[in-house]
Symmetry: C2
Subunit: 322 residues, 2 copies
């Protein structure tokens, strides 16, 4: 399961960070999922192997412009490139209203159907996308805003190859039959029962990707059993204090302290205020976010970068791979 | 007068071309004008010395997405960056409807006023922007679409310094008074009349920037006396014939042949179909556009590139300077 960040800036872009967008891909699947679609997302995609022809669904966390202003252009380009397969759009009802308003005002006609799904329905009833079950949780951000949880639906059973070797069952067709749980007779006339050679399936992976949110505790339930949480850390506490408001956002300290309690092994921070520069010389440096978060979170901590790719492995560890 | 292309692709972007946007700047002016604002324009601006704080007006040629989907994000970022000065938005009434629909649907609040001007009013009554008189002409493109003509309003008179030297009038305050047309008495008691020493002012520059258009002849009047015409050349004739339609656009041959008759000394082509690659290996190469245009136009011909800067000098010549 790979997380490819296309934009990691809050509100407005910088020279090194586009506004919010995150692509989710899966082993062996060419179909993929996009979470948020800030302006310029279709430009960032040209620097990846991903194609809008294979884009299964777009999930919008909330209707603020830095999370959705790239959607009309992305859809228009997909249509011009010949896409005819329907696309699922998940989000608050405002997303549908926004797209319909833009289509009407600008005469945009798409060569494919948009299947709108109200994110609120995913709070109680998971939606299946590619091979994932997707649930939603309402957050706190002024406008209707959601976190999405992605659960693997099918986890393959692995085969106890050590036992097979010890019992003198050579690799071949029989191994596949045993892995599928079948009972077979081998060339020595032995009855072999699949159940005896299948190892317990590993635990399915769970990823949670949150929209903007000033109340991390709202994520407590959805984070149970999660391997990784992607959450905004728009400011440091020092900046929140100086501004006199968090503007509906979380500080690095607040989300890191929550993650430490809630238990995901890995925390990826994103959606940084443009005041935090990636290079020396700015009023603030992105390292301030990292230092503040590390003081509260002892797990695997990543600060997302544009076009960086993070892999959530089957062994539930997260690492950066590009 | 400088033309800085921010996007030169038709319909959808490519790896080397953003969708349409063009910045106009003027000698000695920090205020500037934007013509069209396709998605990603605010990203391109970060690669220029231009600031949205000094953006005087945005002129939209027509409401198609590749010419306006960057506008909400650009306005939002200008507001977040602290802009409070009103901004003029010129275009068909659909532009106002589009912006109001996006603002309503996404809760976008700007910290400055938008002064909407219906482009149709500029057909008969020029609008003054920075130091330019801007007129409009209706084009043919399915939706309401315009070309904008930019005329210098003030042209400085130059002084006949050779005559002043020959008559023994030394450089000094008197030269400035004479240049302003005043009558003065010099230290030899001579009456000197400004009108006798001012050379005829140079002809004001005129630039025409057209939106998408399948009927170049509609530009005949507005191109009279123009130094340069910026016009789309979406396809070559070979591609138009194969598609069986021009989709409301002009071929390189058609606009070049028009320009040859209509008389602008320079023609800048832009808005190229993504099928024309800038590097070898594509189905078509951008050189095909150039070859076709050169066969019909004998003046200065340029094919716009993203982030390229073209200077229209006081001597009415056009050249690429970046």
């Amino acid at each position: 399961m790979q997380l490819r960040f296309l934009g990691t800036s809050a509100g407005m872009p910088t020279r090194t960070r586009h506004v919010s967008a995150l692509a989710l891909t899966f082993e062996g699947q060419r179909r993929w999922i996009l979470i948020d679609c800030g302006e310029g997302t279709q430009y960032q995609l040209m620097h990846t192997p991903l194609s809008v022809a294979r884009l299964d669904a777009v999930l919008i966390t909330h209707i603020h412009g830095d999370h959705c202003y790239g959607l009309p252009g992305l859809l228009a380009s997909a249509s011009m490139a010949g896409r005819r397969a329907a696309m699922t759009i998940v989000g608050p009802p405002a997303v549908r209203d926004y797209l319909e308003a833009v289509k009407a005002a600008t005469g945009l006609q798409l060569g494919f159907e948009l299947i709108h799904v109200d994110a609120a329905t995913l709070v109680n009833e998971p939606l299946t996308l590619t091979d994932l079950a997707v649930r939603a949780t309402r957050l706190s951000h002024g406008v209707e805003c959601y976190a999405y949880a992605f659960d693997e639906r099918h986890v393959e059973a692995s085969l106890d190859t050590a036992r097979l070797a010890a019992e003198g069952v050579p690799p071949g067709l029989i191994w596949g039959q045993l892995q599928r749980g079948e009972t077979v007779i081998d060339d020595q006339g032995r009855y072999l029962c699949g159940a005896d050679y299948r190892l317990s399936p590993r635990t399915p992976r769970r990823l949670v990707v949150a929209g903007d949110n000033d109340t991390p505790a709202l994520l407590t339930d959805i984070c149970q059993g999660a391997d990784a949480l992607v959450h905004e850390a728009t400011y440091t506490e020092a900046v929140v204090k100086r501004l006199g408001t968090d503007n509906g956002h979380s500080s690095a300290a607040r989300i890191a302290a929550f993650a430490e309690r809630a238990g995901p092994g890995a925390l990826i921070l994103t959606h940084f205020s443009p005041r935090y520069a990636s290079r020396p010389g700015g009023a603030h440096h992105i390292d301030e976010i990292e230092h503040e978060a590390r003081a509260h979170f002892t797990g695997t901590l990543m600060l997302a970068e544009d076009l960086a790719v993070y892999e959530l492995s089957r062994d539930h560890t997260l690492q950066r791979c590009e």
